[in-house]
């Protein structure tokens, strides 16, 4: 270096190790906190807000997600193949109740009943093999905030009639009135 021509001391280098430690700790924090969207969770559902909800128990693997929302064609416009989109367009009009479950086309209540029955029968067989008396599968209802109460009630009633006994309602957490907003 030109300015260091007079002496022969060691080159002054900033010590990056503590900085790297801090950065890696921050990185670890964000990696653990990041909430990767699960395959079964539909992003189009705008969940209602509630103060009564508790943090999710992600250790429960035995769950079925049922998403309910008013149908909007633009939600599916660029996501579905043309033939499926044509079927969906025939079946629904904007504002109709639309039920979304993982790996299936948008459904109406009658189709949901068939699907739930199949899932219940499979779960019952698996439970019998394990030696359990009851099916422990939980139905997670993710209702859009604009969905009608009557439609959600119909789905809960249908699940109950099929045989499911555990239900969970999903919502976004809302701060309490006395707490920070």
């Amino acid at each position: 270096m030109s300015h260091g021509g007079g002496g022969e001391g060691a080159a002054a280098e900033p010590n990056l190790t503590p900085l790297l430690d801090v950065v890696l700790q921050l990185l670890m924090f964000f990696m653990m906190c990041v909430n990767f969207v699960s395959e079964q969770v539909n992003e189009d559902i705008k969940l209602p807000r509630s103060q009564a909800v508790k943090p999710m128990d992600k250790s429960d693997p035995d769950v079925l997600f049922v998403n309910v929302k008013p149908f909007a064609l633009q939600d599916f416009q660029d996501r579905l193949p043309a033939d499926v989109l044509a079927r969906v367009r025939e079946k629904f009009r904007d504002g109709d109740e639309c039920i979304l479950v993982s790996g299936k086309e948008p459904m109406r209540q009658q189709e949901l009943r068939v699907w739930l029955k199949q899932e219940y029968d499979d779960a019952k067989l698996a439970a019998e093999k394990r030696g359990d008396k009851e099916v422990k599968t939980a139905i997670v209802i993710r209702g859009h905030r604009e969905a009608d109460y009557g439609k959600v009630w119909d789905i809960l009633d249908m699940c109950k009639n099929v045989g499911f006994r555990r239900f969970m309602l999903r919502a976004l957490t809302k701060n309490t009135p006395g707490g920070a907003t």
Binding site: L16, T17, L19, L20, V23, L24, L26, L27, F30, M31, C33, V34, N35, V41, L47, P48, R49, S50, Q51, A52, V53, K54, P55, M56, D57, K133, E134, V140, G143, H144, R145, E146, A147, D148, Y149, G150, K151, V152, W153, L156, D157, K160, R165, R166, F167, M168, L169, R170, A171, L172, T173, K174
Partner: protein, 168 residues
């Protein structure tokens, strides 16, 4: 080999930290930008009595559990919140009228959730069943409004809210 190294006066090995730091910063920037702490999803459990429990063992139980057998989405409760909505281009799907039903009859509480909460707090001191409450809402009520009513019930001390079939 080891003895030869001991005697050598070569330069100290240095670990190149800078590229690692660059990469760590990039990853950090990605996670900071994709982090949304405000939209945390939660859930509330709505357990029903198991089939083995609902099966009556004698005639008296059949009578007392008749309502639950008719509709297992309902838990036995002393108070029912009735929520009405109108589709009049003003309150489409929003709460238009709230009332409380108990053994003494139906008592209107207006359309304010604060009023409902205060009334429920008063009732919770007198009723026998302080945990359970029923909610009967119109079919066209928006789901967000249902959860707002459930919040009011929770704040008044009723922990278990069960749903009654919508009228009509």
């Amino acid at each position: 080999m080891t003895t030869r190294r001991k005697h050598e006066e070569g330069p100290e090995p240095t670990l190149p930290v800078t590229p690692m730091l660059d990469m760590a910063f990039q990853l950090l920037a990605f996670f900071v930008m994709t982090y949304h702490p405000s939209d945390l999803e939660g859930q509330m459990e709505l357990s029903l009595p198991s089939e083995s429990i609902t099966q009556a063992k004698n005639q008296e139980q059949v009578k007392s559990d008749a309502a639950a057998e008719k509709n297992p989405l309902e838990l036995p409760a002393d108070v029912t919140v009735i929520v009405r909505t109108q589709h009049d281009n003003v309150n489409n799907g929003l709460i238009s009228d709230l009332s409380l039903q108990d053994t003494a009859g139906v008592h209107p509480v207006g359309n304010s959730l604060d009023n409902l909460r205060d009334e429920l707090k008063k009732r919770s001191e007198t009723v026998e069943n302080k945990e359970n409450i029923k909610l009967q809402a119109d079919a066209k009520l928006k789901w967000q409004e249902v959860l707002n009513v459930m919040d009011a019930c929770h704040q008044a001390g009723f922990k278990n809210v069960s749903f009654v079939k919508p009228p009509g």
